[in-house]
Symmetry: none
Subunit: 192 residues, 4 copies
DNA sequence: TATGAATGAGTATTCATTCAT
DNA sequence: TATGAATGAATACTCATTCAT
């Protein structure tokens, strides 16, 4: 008996991400996904019961994968700024390497495919980032203010920078990451 | 060649924006647009020869409208920081009041509907913002750095802040605009 | 504006009946129905939202049409036997002329398309026949027994006779109707 | 060529009959049959080369089984009426106990699965019943008339009575069989 | 113009059948 | 044999677009 090939799920996800980046959620069909994943349309339905389920599952996986990466190399013993920089760079690199996923998630947010419960999940996954920001405020290293706004400010720059760099087909240099981090840090650091 | 009833065009555009915000580009049909605009499907085709044309025209209009608004109240004679703040707040308010348009444009960017030439247009329209940033650098009020990065940094925070505020259903207070501007300003201002 | 063509529903029904007689419920597709009705597949969906709805609606119509026909020419003032014969012959003729409908209804009864509520309707429509049988018993012209059984006995012969005549491609003569009625009548009449 | 595990064939047949009763021929799939028979879809194809073959074989088996049962306990030496009653009751009981088979055969008759040659077979199998009816006429115990009509009349009542009893979820009592037989007998017996 | 019914190519999904294990 | 994953043609249904009124 031929066992179910779990690797195929990855093929399917990858094919979907690439297609969505190229043509948007509006432009992809199940048979395109199938042929990009080098399987038959019918096979797609062995792994995902519907298009909606496929999109939802991929969305969830993207969220989780990214969340897992953020804190790689981060330890609470590190000085706050060093820790923040590690997380911030993790996110930056993740955005670059997984650009398709960011595009995909953006597209999903207003799509008919994503259920409310999937959206809920997103909120849970950013909790650790909230914690981080709050630590910074407690240590008086960050301006004292609304954590929500601070959090968004910290990560918005890299998000949009990566996005527009891709659109303008600009390479992102090592130093530009440093520069952008500094811009952001000067913004959020507590004025001594 | 386009008929005179501009009011109907506006109805159609408005209906499209609302629908795209609710269900994404992937989820809307021409007949939904028509019925949301309270006209018959056939009538839609009197005003727009195809779905692609409709989306493209709306995209272009959104870009233009926003570009026109940015510099309202701005004069070169104003001190740089004041001018920047005016532009920045204009953009902020525009994002809030025209949230659907931002969603729509985001969705379009990866859609099969938007032609390359439409994308090109976008680049032209942000030229004035480049100018503004360059003025700031020339006056030594801003950190000396890549204008592209600076530009993105300046406006990314408000973009994402508005977006996430909507998603989390948070009201945006007058004072939070000030706060966010200050975060950003402390980031970009030249260290004296 | 082109108004909705109610005649089309009849075309569709007719096409469906013929196809079901030829190939059974299991063998028909929506596009076959459409092309037999000389319309496009899409048009089918203007009149019926789904295959299930089409089958259900047709089922209901068949039931109603047949029920309406049964009592044509019947009056309570007529002697019972005469009245019964009129109804019985009506049913007989209806079966012959609407053979496809009988086949269709038979097939539907065990199909996934027919909802419980549609089945319920059927029961209501045979009430008048129950009344008729009860009248016969009250007038002591029929054997005194369970009305359900009597009713079925009265009409089962013609049902199966028509069915098997069609299958064997036998013509049904005027006199064979008489004969069959007599068989049945001798069975049900009260022994004097 | 067919493998020896006759037990599995029986499982498959039984599963098919139950499913067809529940959902009709139109509503069953090979994988449903397989899973109801507790085997894999692939295994189904070891026993039946195609769906058509499975349905046809089952149809044929049903016909044969029923035909074999009819004359159990019947001997030509018995008085005609007694013999007829035995056959009639055999048929009645068979219908009750094998209700699914009757439903299945009804559905098959108009299906694309049953071949002409399978239909032909049916005609052969009722020959003994013809013989029986003819004996009755020769012995002047039955009305002299067309054997086809007489045959149908004799058995139609029980057919429909069982069918409608099942649909209405009525129990069939021993005495109701007697009653129905009497109705029928009074119909067919030669008037003395 | 305006309407919405009609069209048919296109899309998601199913399912008989095959095949690798 | 037995399994159930894989296949892809077929099917139900959708939707951009056209057309008769």
């Amino acid at each position: 008996m031929k066992p179910r090939d779990e690797h195929k799920i990855e093929q399917i996800f990858q094919a979907t991400l690439v297609l969505v980046k190229e043509k948007g959620l509006a432009g992809i069909t199940m048979s395109e996904i199938a042929s990009a994943a080098k399987i038959a349309t019918g096979t797609l339905y062995i792994y995902f019961e519907s298009k909606e389920k496929l999109i939802n599952d991929l969305f969830t996986r993207c969220r989780k994968t990214s969340a897992e990466t953020y804190f790689k190399g981060y330890h609470t013993e590190q000085p706050f700024k060093d820790g923040l920089k590690i997380v911030w760079l993790n996110l930056f690199d993740f955005r670059i390497e997984h650009f398709e996923e960011a595009v995909f998630m953006d597209q999903c947010y207003h799509s008919p495919y994503i259920t409310e419960s999937t959206k809920e999940l997103t909120k849970k996954l950013i909790q650790p980032l909230y914690k981080l920001v709050e630590r910074g405020m407690e240590e008086k290293l960050l301006k004292k203010m609304d954590a929500f706004m601070l959090l968004i400010f910290i990560f918005s720059g890299l998000n949009e920078f990566v996005k527009h760099s891709f659109y303008s087909e600009r390479k992102i240099s090592k130093s530009s990451k440093e520069e952008l981090f500094n811009l952001m840090w000067d913004g959020i650091k507590a004025s001594s």
